[in-house]
């Protein structure tokens, strides 16, 4: 679990960056050139977006330089979505958060009051410029013949997933599986299904990357419940030893983003932070998003990369669970359904 270090490193980097931004131009640059200053932005994100934001940040820095003449230094911090939200609540000086689920940003709004409770209505389409879903990653040739959710609870199948309490991706995966169970016979069937599913989980990682490492590098388990983009990335990183299986249905995951009002006002970065978030809706960014196997909102980008985006039936969290707040309270709160799975029988 590398995430605590990353968070801390993010904090240090952000601190160092801000010091550099504030101090160095004053010390080094002659007063004449003072208008071409360097701005620092810290984007606190979840585990699976490392590669996406690396490319987005380069593109946005160039875009911003061309438009305003300002140099940008965008710092990233990645980790399990819940962990990242807690770091921000505890004082990590993020300008923007791009987390795996709205519930984690709700927590930041409720506990640290860094942004208003209606944050999600401030940007287009529920503040989610892209969506994603959960797919099944199996070993090459699919030796255990895993085609759909039903195959995951068969005896002898090892399922790798992270702990939904700490990982946003795992929460979506849990909900996708639960929604499948619901479709086969309501609450009771869903409960029985999800219990059986987690009995087949030999290792619980803390973030999406933990689970990927366990599955791909340590060779544990037969199927990984993964973000769609993470599944493609695994094949890209670890070679063609894996196949992606699209189940009969999955969940429409909407990872939202928001700027943290109190922090951007303190850092005087509101303008650039707003520009950064809006940039994610631009055709250029939407193309990058699609190239990284996320599902863009922009129809033209989606059409351009249609080969990347296999159609799949998706339920939304509002349809199947009555929204995040309800899902959170029923499934992931202390003593909720997820905890009950692990009650010793």
């Amino acid at each position: 679990m590398t995430s605590p270090d990353i968070t801390r490193r993010g904090l240090v980097a952000a601190g160092g960056g801000m010091a550099a931004a504030a101090g160095l131009p004053l010390l080094l640059a002659p007063p004449v050139q003072a208008q071409s200053k360097t701005l620092t932005l810290l984007n606190v994100s979840y585990d699976a977006t490392r590669e996406l934001y690396k490319e987005i940040n380069v593109a946005f820095s160039a875009f911003w330089k061309a438009r305003t003449g300002e140099f940008l230094d965008i710092k990233q911090s990645h980790g399990g979505s819940g962990k990242q939200a807690r770091a921000v609540i505890d004082g990590l000086q993020a300008d923007v958060v791009t987390l795996a689920l709205a519930g984690d940003i709700d927590e930041i709004a409720a506990r640290a009051k860094l942004l208003p409770a209606n944050w999600q209505s401030r940007l287009p389409i529920n503040s989610t410029p892209y969506t994603s879903t959960i797919v099944l990653l199996v070993r090459k040739g699919n030796p255990k013949a895993i085609r759909d959710w039903a195959d995951l609870v068969k005896p002898g199948v090892g399922v790798i997933v992270s702990n939904p309490k700490t990982s946003g991706g795992a929460r979506w995966a849990y909900l996708a599986a639960y929604a499948y169970g619901q479709s086969k016979g309501g609450q009771a069937a869903a409960r029985a299904y999800i219990t059986k599913l987690f009995r087949n989980v030999p290792v619980l990682g803390a973030g999406a990357r933990d689970a990927t490492t366990t599955f791909a590098q340590r060779g544990i388990g037969d199927v990984l419940l993964a973000w769609e983009n993470e599944a493609f990335l695994t094949i890209h990183e670890f070679g063609p030893n894996f196949d992606i299986v699209y189940p009969s249905s999955s969940i429409l995951a909407e990872p939202p983003l928001a700027l943290l009002d109190k922090n951007v006002d303190r850092h005087k970065t509101r303008v650039v932070a707003t520009g950064y978030l809006n940039f994610l809706y631009s055709p250029q960014a939407q193309d990058i998003i699609a190239r990284h196997h996320y599902r863009p909102r922009n129809a033209a980008s989606a059409a351009k990369y249609a080969a990347n985006l296999k159609p799949i039936a998706m339920v939304t969290i509002d349809q199947a669970f009555g929204g995040w707040k309800k899902a959170q309270a029923t499934h992931f709160a202390e003593g909720g359904l997820f905890d009950q799975i692990y009650k010793p029988a």
């Binding site: 679990m1 807690r86 340590r218 060779g219 544990i220 992931f332 202390e334 692990y342």
Partner: protein, 290 residues
Amino acid sequence: MSDQTRHIGSVELRRRPWLQHSILPGFGLSLGITLTYLGAIVVLPLTALAIRPWELGLHGVWHELSAPRVASALKLSFGLSALAALLNAPLGLLLAWTLSRYEFPGRRILDALVDLPFALPTAVAGLALTAIYAPNGPLGSLAAKLGIKTAYSALGIFIALVFIGLPFVVRSLQPVLQELDHEVEEAATTLGADARQRAVRVILPAMAPSLISGVSLAFARAVGEYGSVVFIAGNLPGKTEIAPLLIVIKLESYDYAGAAAVGVAMVAISFGSLVLINGLQLALAKRGKA
């Protein structure tokens, strides 16, 4: 006059016995610094921790700690830490003996290697151990052939705890072994003691106090170990979930009070066991003097 001073002094001493420390100058200053330092570094954070869970109420704290998942995590953490420390006692003793009593090529390198678990970032240690003991790793695959699960089981946690505890035992014993006078052993020999008697009745008693303190240090370190264990543990609630991980999971679910409750329980158990071990050490030291 000097008689009188002595008289007054002894009355003073009898009435306020702690004053006898002040025979050395600087007592007030050094005690002041000691108390301030300990207060700021140890007592203050521990107090903050101890206050936190009570917002749940006595009943709430009990409810928190009696949950089967918490109980099993505490049992796992303390049980495996004790076992790991106990295994490190004979092995650490042997290592310390080899390193301080024999002269052989490469001894210094071996000696330096013992410190590695101290110096290595725990996450690196965890990753390295997992790579070796995972079912597709060099040792893990051997164990798997024998039907033994190493990484992602309680055994994996045990291995990590043995790894991080070893230097504590070795480093506590080495100075004592080096200081132990050969004359004592020679005297025992001239008095007719054989090798086994020398080891059991002369060397071991001299080392017992530092062996115990080394083992208790290793135990205390293992109880709190997080970084290396989470990689190799599997982290299944009720099975391979250690108490420090449970604390982190509770924190990440914004359950600060619940996390603090588990923390307080860990501090209480650790403190209790350390007091017990200290008592044992004292008893041993007394017997050694008698």
